[in-house]
């Protein structure tokens, strides 16, 4: 299957006030693939991820320059409907962040936000999303219970279900497994592999094995720059850049 670019950056710069966090990033992220961002802490992985759904808008004095497009449309164009962008580009955060509501209401939150009120339709969406996030069997008898009563791993899968419920085209995952125990992390990795068939996934990870196991493409960032980007196998077997090699062999970071 030929690769189709869904997200493209051209000379993207990003600033937090005076601090430049991204420098001239140019990258084509393919649709229906898992792309992993790796690199040492503070290199700008999260910043780049959060430019894609404009979560950085919350930070005063933060601004982007250059081009970043989603299906050919400029993400930072003035007429972009940010809520619609975020519906189409979902996000899963490092720490599970379910709302203090019931499991059902958590998953139904997005669909309700986008105007779905019909109960039967909501029921269906909630069930489908929970199934897709591989957590239906664990919560189907406690949909009315508070989401806060779930374990950390369950909460994270609930957050994935919540993100899937609005049928995004892209799912951004920012170290979504790093706060979890290894078994929960492995379940989410498996889940990611299943979801790849239906969504474009862009994930940040600190875990080299994880990147190698589940991603199709890997991007290596260093100090705000994209050092190398390519097929995961190639990056891990024959890195072209010395710094990439040093990083994946654990010589720094």
């Amino acid at each position: 299957m030929a690769e189709r670019t869904i997200l493209a950056a051209r000379d993207l710069d990003f600033y937090y006030g005076e601090v430049q966090a991204l420098r001239h990033i140019s990258i084509n992220i393919p649709a229906a693939r898992v792309t992993a961002f790796i690199g040492p802490s503070g290199c700008g992985k999260s910043t780049f991820l959060r430019t894609i759904n404009r979560m950085n808008d919350l930070i005063p004095a933060a601004r982007a320059a250059g081009s970043l497009t989603f299906r050919g449309q400029e993400i930072y164009a003035p007429d972009v409907d940010v809520t619609d962008l975020r519906r189409r580009v979902g996000m899963v955060f490092q720490k599970p962040n379910p709302f203090p509501m019931s499991v059902y209401d958590n998953v139904a939150y997005g669909p309700r936000t986008h105007g779905i009120r019909d109960r039967r339709r909501l029921d269906l969406i909630v069930e489908e999303s929970l199934r897709a996030a591989a957590i239906w069997d664990e919560v189907k008898d406690r949909l009315k219970k508070s989401a806060m009563s779930l374990s950390g791993g369950q909460q994270q899968r609930l957050c994935i279900a919540r993100a899937l419920a609005v049928e995004p085209e892209v799912l951004l995952m920012d170290e979504a497994t790093s706060a979890l125990d290894t078994i929960s992390a492995a379940r989410i990795e498996d889940l990611t592999l299943e979801l790849r068939e239906r969504f474009t996934i862009v994930m940040v990870t600190h875990n080299m094995q994880q990147a190698a196991r589940i991603s199709d493409k890997t991007a290596f960032f260093l100090a705000g720059e994209l050092i190398e980007f390519g097929n995961t196998e190639r990056i891990f077997s024959m890195p072209r850049d010395k710094r990439t090699e040093d990083y994946i062999t654990g010589r720094f970071g």
């Binding site: 975020r86 962040n97 709302f99 209401d105």
Partner: protein, 307 residues
């Protein structure tokens, strides 16, 4: 070892002394409170009767009656909260969630800090000038309530602001990342987790209203006679004393200390009641918010496998 023994001993003595001191402060506080409450009850309870609570003062028979003041108090609490709550919560939401200018927020915070420290007699002055005269409300419960609304506004504003700030950033990010607009995020995720803080603000405000006398003497009147609450006009025109003011009237003008202490006891019970009720309401509301809009279909479906 030997060299360490003395500092260790000193440290132990020191910490024992500190513990004793804080224990003493705590007990003094508790004792003062207990003595105060005990004394009020001891003086007030004998004079307290069903008769007193359910009748109005009769100058002919020379009997006191607290019913009008009790009703006035409830009325003033309700009206002033009804006015201050939406304003205070609304302003807090604007300042913490929408305002772009740091300076504006800081200025308002400073102003409300100052306002909450102003002696209430100054609010009385404002009430007399603005509500009683300029707006033509005269000395009425309405004028008094609105003056108290202004007086309690900073309290509600600040407590709401504080609790808005404690809402985890991750909740907000979660809501926004799902395509929620700012207002929907506030209404569905932020405010529900602030209910406790807002209720606390209301309790504090209601406490101040129940205990306030100076403002109401000037803006709401001193009458201990029954007011007409049956018509809108009657309510608009009602003028009279709340329990705290009645306490003053009975003690100072009638020299009826039995009635004054009875009023004090009722006042005490009332503020305890308001506190309790608000807490209960807060807990209810918080729980309901969390469960709200639960499809009935879900309850049905939970029985069967796929509904």
């Amino acid at each position: 070892m030997a060299r360490n023994a003395r500092p260790a001993l000193r440290r132990q003595l020191y910490s024992a002394a500190v513990r004793l001191l804080v224990w003493l402060s705590a007990s003094v506080c508790c004792c003062l409170l207990a003595v105060l409450i005990g004394y009020i009850c001891w003086r007030g309870l004998p004079g307290l009767s069903w008769e007193l609570l359910t009748s109005e003062e009769s100058l002919l028979q020379g009997t006191a009656g607290l019913l009008p003041s009790l009703l006035n108090t409830l009325c003033v609490v309700a009206v002033s909260l009804a006015a201050a709550l939406p304003l205070g919560v609304g302003a807090a939401i604007y300042l913490t969630e929408y305002a772009r200018s740091r300076r504006l927020t800081a200025a308002v915070e400073f102003a409300s800090e100052v306002l909450s420290g102003i002696p209430s007699i100054l609010y009385a002055l404002v009430g007399v000038i603005v509500f009683c005269s300029a707006l033509g409300l005269q000395k009425t419960l309405l004028a008094g309530s609105l003056t108290l609304a202004i007086m309690t506004l900073p309290t509600i504003l600040r407590t709401t602001q504080e609790s808005l700030r404690t809402v985890p950033r991750s909740y907000r990010e979660g809501a926004l990342s799902l395509g929620s607009g700012r207002w929907r995020m506030i209404a569905t995720v932020v405010l529900p987790s602030c209910v406790d803080g807002i209720v606390t603000g209301c309790i504090l405000a209601a406490g101040r209203v129940v205990g306030e006398s100076a403002v109401l003497m000037y803006t709401a009147g001193l009458s201990t006679a029954m007011q007409d609450f049956s018509t809108i006009q009657g309510i608009m025109r009602a003028s009279g004393s709340t329990l705290a003011v009645a306490l003053y009237v009975y003690a100072k003008e009638r020299a009826d200390f039995a009635a004054a202490f009875a009023a004090a006891t009722v006042l005490l019970a009332l503020s305890a009641l308001i506190n309790l009720a608000a807490r209960l309401a807060g807990r209810r509301l918080g729980r309901r918010q969390r469960r709200k809009k639960h499809p009935a279909a879900l309850t049905r479906r939970q029985g069967g496998p796929h509904g």
